[in-house]
């Protein structure tokens, strides 16, 4: 039983990354209708951002947690203004291809600069060691990741549910055309929302740097799982993607424990089931599919 609880906790930690990434992906998809294939690349840039600011100007992990997402937000907004925007009126496939190409370019640029080996990055001193969680002890850093991601998710949820900006984002996600016909300048919010989604990916990247291999491939491997998470949670459903993120994390961890060989397929089996039985996703609304 302890072992199972521990696996569930482990799953929640890896789910933290899924949740943050799926959240950004979902907000971007909702607002722009763009399936952002470059999301994994932004996550990778986040991790490299942490490494770079440490190596070049000695910026600590804590500061990187703020600075790197901000820089990525700017990058995201520039990309939205210069590239993504030009294709939004066309078939969504065009932006899918654009972001796919962007992902490859970003990945290759990083590889050109840093090579294929992973970059070293260590945990902040404050988070070395372990916490005793009663039933088991757990690495401090990972507990921090879980708590931090929950805090960020809740904060995003509060902003979305309790502010005018959040209301506009929700409305534009649900019915962009109608929202515009009601006098809301949807286009003005598209750029910052894209930047925000990218910043979330970058934040996940910074969080990953101390505990995962930092190399140009790290995002490409992850993005497919994140797509599955978003589909399972319900495309465009913010709450759904966060919940599905933690859920998939737990599923993979428990799967790893009992049937390691099958654990990766579990995600996609679940996705197939969801698509068959509840095409709008576990938390998606049927109406928003039309």
């Amino acid at each position: 039983m302890d072992a199972l609880l521990q696996q569930i906790f482990t799953g929640l930690v890896s789910g933290s990354f899924y949740a943050l990434l799926a959240l950004g992906l979902s907000v971007i998809f909702g607002m722009l209708g763009v399936v952002n294939f470059a999301h994994g690349a932004f996550y990778m840039l986040g991790a490299f951002g942490a490494v770079t600011v440490l190596d070049t100007i000695g910026v600590s992990f804590w500061l990187a947690l703020v600075v790197v997402p901000l820089v990525l937000a700017v990058l995201g907004m520039v990309l939205e203004r210069t590239l993504v925007r030009r294709l939004t009126s066309l078939d969504p496939l065009y932006n899918f291809l654009l972001t796919f190409g962007l992902a490859l370019i970003l990945q290759d640029l990083v590889r050109l600069k840093y090579g294929v080996s992973s970059q070293p990055y260590s945990r902040p001193d404050l988070l070395q060691g372990s916490f005793n969680l009663g039933l088991f002890t757990y690495p401090r850093y990972q507990v921090f990741v879980l708590v931090f991601s929950i805090v960020v998710s809740v904060a995003v949820w509060l902003v979305l549910s309790h502010t005018r900006i959040g209301m506009i984002v929700r409305a534009s996600t649900e019915r962009p055309e109608l929202t515009s016909a009601l006098g809301v300048n949807v286009g003005r919010w598209v750029t910052p929302v894209f930047g925000f989604g990218v910043a979330l990916a970058g934040l996940a990247g910074v969080l990953a740097a101390p505990m995962r291999a930092v190399n140009s491939e790290m995002g490409g491997d992850l993005i497919i799982v994140i797509f599955a998470v978003v589909v399972i949670g319900g495309l465009g459903s913010v709450f759904g993607s966060v919940a599905a993120g933690y859920l998939i994390g737990m599923l993979t961890a428990v799967g790893n424990f009992y049937v390691p060989a099958l654990s990766q397929s579990l995600v996609f089996i679940l996705m197939a089931l969801v698509l068959l039985l509840r095409p709008a996703g576990l938390f998606g609304r049927e109406e928003s599919m039309s």
Binding site: R170, A171, E174, R175, A181, G183, V184
Partner: protein
Amino acid sequence: MLSVHGVSARYGEAQVLTDVTLDVQQGEIVTLVGRNGAGKTTLLRCLMGLHRSMSGRVELDGVDITRRSSHQRARLGLGYVPDDRGIYASLSVEENLLLPPVVDERAWSMDQVYEAFPVLADRRRQTGTHLSGGEQQMLSIARVLRTGARMLLADEPTEGLSPLLVQQIGDIFRSVREHGITVLLIEQNLHFASSLADRHHLIARGQVVESLDNSEVKEREHELLEYLGI
């Protein structure tokens, strides 16, 4: 107030509107009457700037708004009540009301809205789509009144409603007119239309086939009903 000159529109290969010309005067209630698929909804979408492949000219108070984006048109005073009522499932009733920005000083305050539509006040915290059809229709109309829109473009507000509710909607539009707000209404219910409107445009196969005063409609009601096949 609103004039439409030679508007044509396509859906892909299909020509949906051909050279539509009509006008609506300040303070009038005017209906667009016609069968399903005649092009009424497309015309309203053209006026709202939601249909891209169109030609012709749309003027609001003498200002050419043909090139304006739809949120700019809303800010110039066009209030859109879409055919599916356009209530957001992800917004509460109150948020549905607060979403569109106020565009004119004669905008209704929330108090006024709730006074006029007490049912919305009772359900302000509920999810918008949890309201009944009639309540959603009221919400959709109240939403644009709160912005201070000078002209409502309403797409079949009575569709699927019980006679009692249709009556209520009729009352709402009459009181809207009393506030000096102009209304362009899509309607298939000829009886309802003639009980309310000043003038009517008959639309068939994407063209205005006849424009009639309300009195003429009343006289020719049977003939027109047959023509419309309603």
